[in-house]
Symmetry: C2
Subunit: 689 residues, 2 copies
C-alpha cells in the first residue's frame, strides 16, 4: 500500500474504530440499571421532549436542505448538492445518536449515584458523553474521506468538499441557534415562574417547566454543541485542503522534504495531511477516553482538565514522530502543535475568567446592587476577550511563519483534532446536570443529590472551557476559511485568465464590506436575545396558567403538564431560529453577487473582528455571572446567603448572562463560521464579478 | 487676490468672525442677571469645581504634551512638536472658554426661568452653548489655516498637519475619558448615596454629591464633548488634505474641471477645499445659530432638531453654487452633501432608538424585572448599530464612487462642517440640566423647575443625537484617516524607491493585526466601566461619612462639604484616564515599529470594526435605558409609577447604561480616532519596515 493510501486509509480505519467504540459504549450504557419508576417516568419525559424537538427540527431542516440542495445543484452541479446533503445528514446522525445516549445516560447516572460511589456515576456520565464525542468526530472524518475518495480525480473535488462543509455548517447553525433559544427560554422561563413567582425550589417536581429545562440542556449543550464542533472540525480540514489545492508554485507550502518533489506531490500531501492528522487526533482521543476512565478515582475536575489537555500534547508528540517517517517537514508538527496547545490555553483562560478572582469581584460587586454586579460582569467579559485573541494571533503568527496561510489552517486542524474528547467532556455536563434534576424530582435524597451536584459543578467548568474552546477554534477556522476563500477567488480568476483580485484593505469596497460585516454579529445577538425573552415569557405565562387552573398542583395532589411547556419551547425555538439562520446563509451571496468578491471579503473581515470578540465577551460574561451567583450560594460572601438582597442582585446578573453564554455568544461564533464557509463555496461563482 | 488666496483667507475670516461672535455671546450672557445669593453660591461651587478639574487636568496634560512634544521633536522635527502643541493648546483654549460660559450660563438660565418665560430661558442656555460651539469650530479652523499658511511651501507640511491633529486628538482622548469617568462617577455615586441609601430626592441640597454631579455635566458633556468634536473636525480636514497631498497621477481626484489643469493644481485644490468648505460650514452654523434664536417661541425640541438638520442642507446648497464658480466639479458637492446628510440621518436614527418604540419596549420589559429590562436594552443597543453603519457605508460608497478615497474624506468633512451648531446644541444640554439642579437646590419652586425640566428633557434628546452624530462622524473620519495612513505609507515607500506596500487582507500580518485591534475597544470599555464603578464607590463612601459625621446635615441644620466629593471625583478621573489613554497612544507605534505597517493597518481595521459598533451599541443602549426609566417616571406605564418595583428595575438598567453612554461608548469612539491619527503621524517612520 502506498504512503498516500495509508494517509487516506487511516482516517477511515480510525473513523470506523471510533464508531464501533461509540456503539459499544452506547450498548454498555443502555444495559446499566435504570432506577425506579419515578426516575424512569421523568427521564422518559425528558427523552421524549428532546427527541420530539430533534424530529421537529429535522423537519424544518429537511425543507431547508432540499431548497439549498436544488439551488446548489442548479448552480454548482448535482455532485455539490449530494455532498451538501451528506455533510448535513452525518451531522444529524451524530446528533441523533448522541442525544439518544445522553437522554438515557442521565437517569443511569442518577441511578449510579444511588450507590453512593462517585466514580461510578462519573463513569456513566462520561460514557454517555463519549457516544456523542466519538460519533461526531468519526462520522465527520468518514464522510470527508468518502467524499475525497470518490471525487479525488475529478475537477470538482474542491467544490464538493466545500459543499460538504456547508452542509455541516447549516445544521450547526440551526442546531446552535434553535437549541440555544430552547435551552435558555426553558431555563429562564421555568426559573422565573417557579423560583421567583411561585416561590418553589429549583427542579421542583410541581413546576411544569422543569422537564423542558432538562430537555433544553440536551438540546443546547449536546445536540447544539455537537453540531457546532463537528462543523468546526470539518471546516478546518476543508480550509486546509482548499488552500493546498489552490496553491501555486509561488505559495505552495513546502511539505515534502525531498527537494525533487513536484508541485503536484506537495499539493497532494497538503490535501491529505489534514485528514490524516485529524485521524491521529481521533486515535489520541480514543486513548484519552480510556485514560480518563482509568483516572476515575481522582478529583473529577482534575480528570476532565487532563482530558482536555492530554490530546494536545499527545498529538504534537505523535506528529513529531510521524512526520519524518512520511518525509514531511516538522513545520507541520509546529503548526499542529501550536494550534492544539492554543486551544487548551484558551480553555484554561476561559476557566480562569469564569471561576477564579474575576468571579469573586463580580460577587463582591453584588453587595452594592444589581447595577454594579452587572457592570462588573460586563467588564470582566470584555476584558476576557484579550488573552484568547492574543493567543490565537500568536498561534497564527507562528504557524504562518513556518508554513504560510496553510500553516494557519493546520493550526486550526490541530486545535480541533481532539474533537472527540472535547465533545465527550462537553456532553458529560448536561448528562450530570440532568442526573441532578432527575434525582431531585424523584426525591432520591440529599446524599445522591450531593454526588450529582458535584458532578454537575464540574460540568459547569467544562462547559465554560468547552465554550471558550469552541469559540477559539471558530476564530482560527474562520481565518483559515477566509484565506481559502481568497485563494479560491484568485484561483478562479487565474483559470479565467484574469489578474488576481487585489484585496487591498483601503479598497473602498472592502472598507464598506467591513462596516456591513461588523453589524451582523450584533444583529444576530440582538435577535437571539429577544427571542429568548419572548419564548421565556410565553413559558412563564403557561406555567402560571397551570398553577392557576390545575387544582391541587401546588399541594402535590395533581400532576403538571410538562408536555405543553416542551411544546411551547420547541415551537418558539424553531420559529425564532429562522431569521438569524437565513441572514447567515443569505448575506454572503447577497453581497458577493451584488457588490463583488472584494466587498464580501470585507464583510467577512468585519464579521470576524466583531464576531470573535463579541462571542468571547458574551460567553465569558455569562459564565462569570453564573458562577458569581453560585459562589454566593455556596457561602462565598459571609453574611450574604441564598435569598439575601446580594444574592438577588447576583441572580439578575445570571439571568442576563443566560442568553449571553448559551444563546447569543455561541450563535455569533457559528454565524461567522457559516458566513465563511458559504463564501468559500460561492467563491468561484463570484470571482469574476 | 487669487482664487486660492480666497480659499485660504475665508477660513481665517469666518474663524475670526466666529470667535468675535463667541466673545459677544460670552459678554452678553455674562451681563444677564445672576439671581439670588443661594443660586450664586451653588453656581459658584459648580463653577469652582469645574474649573478646578479643568486646571488639574491641564497639569496632567502639560506633562503629557511636553513628553510627546520632545519625542516628536526628536523623531519628526521640532516643527511637528510645535504644531502638536498648538493643536493641543487650541483645544484646551476652546474648552476653557466653553466651560467658563457654560458655568455661568447655567445660573442665568435658572434666573431667566424665574420670569416664567420659557423662550427666555431657552435663549440663555443656547447662547451659553454657542460660546463653546463657536470657539471649538473657530479655533480649530484658525489653527489649521495658520499651520497651513506657515508651512505651505515646506516639505514637512504633511507632518506638521498630522502633528496638529495628534495634539487635538490627545486632548480629546483625555478630556473624553477623564470627563466621562468624572461625570458618571459623580452621577452614580451621588444617586446611590442619596436616592438609594439616604432616601432623599435627586438634586437635594443636603446631598454633598449633587455639586459634583453638576460639575460632571460640564466636565463630561461640555469640555469632553467639545474636545471630541474639535478633534473630529480637525482630523477629517487633515485626512482629506493628506489624501490630496499623497495623491499620484493615478489616483488624484479630478477636482478642477479645466482639462488642462496640472496634477499640482489638482492636488492644491484638494488640499484647500476641506479648509474652505469647513469655513462655509462655520458660516452656515453662525447663520443657523441666529435662525435658532428667531425660532425661540416654537417647541424647543423642534427648534433643536431644525438646528441640527439645517446646516447639512444649507451647506450642500451653498456648495452647489460655489463649486462651479471655483471651476470645481460638483462631485465635491455630492461628497460633502452625502456626508452632511448622513450625519443628520444618524442623529435622527439615534433619536428613534433612544426615545421612540424601542424605549417603550424596554420599559415594558421592566414589568418582569431588571433582568428582562437589561436584556431588552442590550438588544435594542445592539440592533441600533445597523442603520448608522449602513448609512455610513452608503455615504462612503457614494462619495467614493464620485471622488475615490478623497471623496470619503470629504464626506467626513461635510458631516463635521456643522460642528459649531452641533456643539452649541450639545452644550445647551448640560447648561439646562445644571439650571434645573440650581433651581432645585435653591428652592425656586415647582413653576421654575417645570421650565428647566422641559429644557432639560430636550437636552437629553439632543445629547443622544449629538452622541450618535459624534460616533458617526468618528467612524467616517477613521475611514478617511485610515486611507490617508495607507496613502502616506506608500508615499514614503515611493520616495524611498520601494514598491508600494500591498495591504492585502489575507496577508497574515494584517489578519493578526485585525485580531489585536479588535480587542482594544473591549479593553478600553472594560477599564473605563470599572473605573466609574471604583470612583463611584469612593464617592458613596464619602457621602455616607458626611451624613454620619456632620451633625444636623440631614435636618438641613448644617452644610455638606461638596468640595470633598469634587476632589475625590477629580482625583479618580485623572488617575483612571491614564491607562486607557496611554494604550490608545502607545499601541499604534508599538505595533508599527515591531510588526510593521501592515500589522498596524490590520490593527486599525480591527479596532474600527469593533470600535464603531461597540460605541454605537453602548451609547444607544445607555440612552434607551435612561429614557425608559424616565418614561416610567412620567407615567408611561399606568399602575407602575416612580418607586414601584417596575421603576426600580428600570433604574438598574439606567445605572448600567450610565457608564455605557457617557463613559465607555464615547471613550471607544475617541480611541479609534486617536489610534488612526497617531498611525497617520508615524506612517512615514514605519513605512520602510
Amino acid at each position: 500500500m502506498s504512503m498516500n493510501s495509508t494517509l487516506v486509509f487511516s482516517p477511515l480505519v480510525f473513523g470506523v474504530l471510533g464508531l464501533l467504540m461509540a456503539l459499544g459504549l452506547y450498548i454498555k450504557t443502555k444495559l446499566l440499571p435504570n432506577g425506579n419508576d419515578t426516575m424512569n417516568r421523568i427521564a422518559g419525559y425528558i427523552r421524549e421532549g428532546a427527541m420530539a424537538f430533534l424530529f421537529r427540527q429535522y423537519k424544518v431542516l429537511v425543507v431547508y436542505c432540499v431548497v439549498v440542495a436544488v439551488v446548489l445543484g442548479l448552480s454548482l452541479g448535482w455532485d455539490a448538492a449530494i455532498c451538501f446533503v451528506l455533510g448535513a445528514f452525518l451531522s444529524l446522525l451524530a446528533g441523533f445518536f448522541g442525544m439518544k445516549a445522553a437522554t438515557f445516560a442521565n437517569v443511569k447516572t442518577a441511578q449510579a449515584a444511588t450507590s453512593r460511589v462517585k466514580s461510578a456515576a462519573l463513569l456513566v456520565a462520561l460514557d454517555g458523553g463519549a457516544v456523542m464525542g466519538l460519533a461526531v468526530a468519526s462520522l465527520g472524518l468518514i464522510g470527508m474521506v468518502a467524499v475525497y475518495w470518490f471525487y479525488a480525480d475529478r475537477s470538482n473535488l474542491g467544490t464538493v468538499l466545500h459543499a460538504f462543509a456547508v452542509g455541516a455548517s447549516s445544521i450547526a447553525l440551526f442546531a446552535r441557534i434553535g437549541g440555544g433559544i430552547y435551552t435558555k427560554a426553558a431555563d429562564v422561563g421555568s426559573d422565573v415562574a417557579g423560583k421567583v413567582i411561585e416561590n418553589i425550589p429549583e427542579d421542583d417536581p410541581r413546576n411544569p417547566g422543569v422537564i423542558a429545562d432538562n430537555v433544553g440542556d440536551n438540546v443546547g449543550d449536546v445536540a447544539g454543541m455537537g453540531a457546532d464542533i463537528y462543523e468546526s472540525m470539518v471546516a478546518s480540514i476543508v480550509a486546509a485542503m482548499a488552500l493546498a489545492m489552490a496553491a501555486t508554485v509561488d505559495n505552495a507550502p513546502k511539505l515534502l522534504l525531498d527537494s525533487g518533489a513536484s508541485l503536484e506531490s506537495q499539493k497532494l500531501m497538503g490535501v491529505l495531511l489534514p485528514l490524516f492528522l485529524s485521524a491521529v487526533g481521533l486515535a489520541v482521543s480514543i486513548v484519552g477516553i480510556f485514560v480518563t476512565r482509568m483516572l476515575k478515582n481522582m478529583n473529577p475536575a482534575m480528570v476532565l482538565r487532563i482530558a482536555l489537555i492530554f490530546p494536545a500534547i499527545a498529538l504534537t508528540g505523535i506528529s513529531a514522530v510521524l512526520m519524518p517517517m512520511l518525509g514531511v517537514t516538522q513545520d507541520v508538527t509546529i503548526a499542529i502543535g501550536v494550534g492544539a496547545i492554543a486551544g487548551a490555553v484558551i480553555g484554561l483562560v476561559t476557566d480562569f475568567y469564569t471561576s477564579a478572582s474575576p468571579v469573586k469581584k463580580i460577587a463582591e460587586a453584588a453587595k452594592t446592587g444589581a447595577g454594579t454586579n452587572l457592570i462588573r460582569g460586563l467588564a470582566v467579559g470584555m476584558e476576557s476577550t484579550a488573552i484568547p485573541m492574543i493567543v490565537i494571533a500568536g498561534s497564527a503568527w507562528i504557524s504562518n511563519h513556518y508554513l504560510g496561510l496553510y500553516g494557519i489552517a493546520m493550526a486550526a486542524v490541530g486545535m480541533l483534532a481532539g474533537t472527540a474528547i472535547v465533545m465527550t467532556v462537553d456532553a458529560y455536563g448536561p448528562i450530570s446536570d440532568n442526573a441532578g434534576g432527575i434525582s431531585e424530582m424523584s426525591g432520591l435524597g440529599p446524599d445522591v443529590r450531593a454526588i450529582t451536584d458535584e458532578l454537575d459543578a464540574v460540568g459547569n467548568t467544562t462547559a465554560a472551557i468547552g465554550k471558550g474552546f469552541a469559540i477559539g477554534s471558530a476564530i482560527l477556522t474562520v481565518m483559515a476559511l477566509f484565506s481559502a476563500y481568497n485563494a479560491e477567488v484568485n484561483h478562479a480568476r487565474q483559470v479565467a485568465g484574469l489578474a488576481p483580485l487585489n484585496l487591498v484593505v483601503t479598497e473602498p469596497n472592502i472598507l464598506i464590506g467591513i462596516l456591513i460585516g461588523s453589524i451582523l454579529p450584533f444583529l444576530v445577538s440582538a435577535w437571539t436575545m429577544v427571542a429568548v425573552g419572548r419564548a421565556a415569557g410565553a413559558i412563564v405565562e403557561e406555567i402560571g396558567r397551570q398553577f392557576r387552573e390545575i387544582p391541587g398542583l401546588m399541594e402535590l395532589k395533581a400532576e403538571p403538564q410538562p408536555d405543553r411547556i416542551v411544546d411551547i419551547a420547541t415551537k418558539s425555538a424553531l420559529k425564532e431560529m429562522i431569521l438569524p439562520g437565513i441572514v447567515a446563509v443569505v448575506v454572503p451571496p447577497a453581497i458577493g453577487f451584488t457588490m463583488g468578491p472584494a466587498a464580501l471579503a470585507g464583510t467577512l473581515v468585519g464579521s470576524l473582528a466583531v464576531g470573535a470578540t463579541l462571542s468571547l465577551f458574551m460567553a465569558n460574561a455569562g459564565g462569570a455571572w453564573d458562577n458569581a451567583k453560585k459562589f454566593i450560594e455556596k457561602g462565598g460572601l459571609p453574611g450574604h446567603k441564598k435569598g439575601s438582597d446580594v444574592h438577588k442582585a447576583a441572580v439578575i446578573g445570571d439571568m442576563v448572562g443566560d442568553p449571553f453564554k448559551d444563546t447569543s455568544g455561541p450563535a455569533v461564533a457559528i454565524l461567522i463560521k457559516v458566513m465563511s464557509v458559504v463564501s468559500l463555496l460561492i467563491a468561484s461563482l463570484i470571482a469574476l464579478r
